[in-house]
Amino acid sequence: MTTDAVVTTRGLTKRFGRVTAVDDLDLEVRRGEIYAFLGRNGAGKTTTIRMILGLIRPLAGEVRVFGEPVRSGRPEWLRRVGCLVETATAYPNLTVRENLELHRRLTGAPARAVANVIEQLGLGDAAERRAGQLSLGNKQRLGLARALVHAPDLLVLDEPANGLDPAGIVEIRGLLRSLADDHGTTVFVSSHILVEVAHLADRIGIVHEGRLVEELDRAALVAAARAFSAAQLTEQQRADALLTLELERYFLARTDGSVR
């Protein structure tokens, strides 16, 4: 284990009945990097994240966060962790601001933190609305805002792009990048869509059937994708892919990147 490891798992295993959700998983997420945990639905991403956060217990193996085994004694370490697990949830009877305020008080963050994250996630117009009445995208933004309120050193985000429109995805990507670059925040983010993380992550771990099948950095990923494209794709397929990208850019430009 290198000294700058923020999250380490060793031989992490979890079974649900006969399903092995996570299978002998070794991970190392380093300080200040954005690590994308990429896998198809059912690959074991959420289960891994739940074990990292101490929500469920491993059958075997261990998780260390900031060098300490999770679930030991007082949960002080969670003060340094912000998370979003699977679907973003909130107390539906409380407003966006009240939900964030509740979280702020229990994490001991300064009073201005709530206004800051509301601004940061573009929730200004929704701040006084009840969480139960928010659009899917704004629910997700609230979940992300809560993860950020207490300025955590480690962000653990489970498919954070869920429910966000393309402009929102780009915006969140920029936010995560600036947190890592400007504040040294370590980000562990799961996704089932490669392009979503290809532009964001410093390293990508590919998980399949609970096992880590490959780990790549961004340069290696781009090189692999180029090689694949050159060898396996027809000219027509490449042209279609390019057109798709251009159409997306056109949509973003027409809507000023401000669609929520």
């Binding site: 739940r50 956060l53 101490g54 929500l55 469920i56 217990r57 007082r74 949960p75 002080e76 370490w77 969670l78 003060r79 962790v81 998370c83 697990v85 699977e86 679907t87 949830t89 909130a90 107390y91 539906p92 009877n93 409380l94 009240e98 509740l102 979280h103 008080r105 229990l106 994490t107 001991g108 009840r130 809560r146």
Partner: protein, 260 residues
């Protein structure tokens, strides 16, 4: 920090209807009782109301304060126990039905603090209901002009209600345990209903003073004439149930998987 946790649990009830619904349910008790008394007080009226009149006289209600107070204690003891179970199931179960358990359990707060805070909220909620219903009952009785109302009699009703409510409350942590164990409302409310019935059955046997859910029935007289003082053994049994319920709930929240 515990005060912040407790304040948070109070905030979570903001704008919810459950406290008002439970209050309304128990407040119906004195009104129904008063209606019965109003009917049976006048033989002509009782005859006019037919079945209702017969039933009222059959169940041994007299239009006196003593009878009114005894039946009110019975209502709070039996109906209230169910309501209290709902209250306990609500404060714990809501975290699962709204999907916020994972939010709560990833806060830097020792989990036992949530258990205590929620039980305190349930206690305050229950106490408020009982006090309001007591005040309502006295007002209704005065308005009816029931014979036998004295300051001493009113004070004795308050004492009895608080005793019954308090003993009922000691059984609430077990409901919390069932809620956290099954992660929902249904099982704890079903469990409470089952125990209420079982308690009344066991209440007719020699085991009555030793079975936690028979102790309120023997106290309020739903299985025989009300007893004035409980055997010390019974108090030990309910106290032990209270402690075991709290310990079990804390253990369950700490040790079992929280998959949502």
């Amino acid at each position: 920090m515990f005060t912040a946790v407790l304040a948070g649990e109070v905030v979570k009830l903001r704008r919810t209807t459950a406290p008002w619904v439970t209050l309304g349910c128990l407040m119906a008790g004195p009104l129904f009782l008063a209606l019965f008394m109003w009917i049976i007080r006048d033989p002509g009226r009782a005859a006019q109301f037919g079945l209702l009149g017969t039933k009222a006289s059959l169940s041994g209600i007299e239009a006196t304060w003593a009878s009114y107070a005894a039946f009110l204690t019975l209502i709070v003891g039996m109906g209230g126990t169910l309501l209290l179970a709902f209250v306990a199931a609500y404060v714990f179960g809501r975290e699962y039905s709204e999907g916020t358990a994972k939010v709560m359990l990833t806060l830097p707060v020792p989990r036992p603090e949530f258990v205590i805070a929620k039980l305190v909220v349930a206690a305050l909620w229950w106490l408020a209901i009982v006090l309001v219903v007591f005040a309502e009952a006295v007002a209704v009785a005065v308005w009816l002009g029931l014979p036998g109302i004295t300051t001493g009699a009113i004070a004795s009703l308050l004492g009895n209600l608080l005793l019954v409510a308090g003993i009922s409350y000691l059984l609430a942590p077990v409901i919390a345990l069932v809620t956290v164990w099954t992660r929902g409302y249904l099982a704890p409310v079903g469990f409470a209903l089952g125990m209420l019935l079982l308690g009344n059955v066991v209440g007719h046997t020699g085991w009555a003073p030793w079975f936690p859910w028979s102790i309120v029935p023997i106290l309020v007289g739903s299985v025989s004439t009300p007893v004035d003082t409980l055997p010390v053994g019974s108090l030990v049994v309910v106290a032990a149930t209270f402690v075991a319920g709290i310990a079990g709930t804390m253990w369950c929240l700490q040790a079992t998987d929280n998959t949502q």
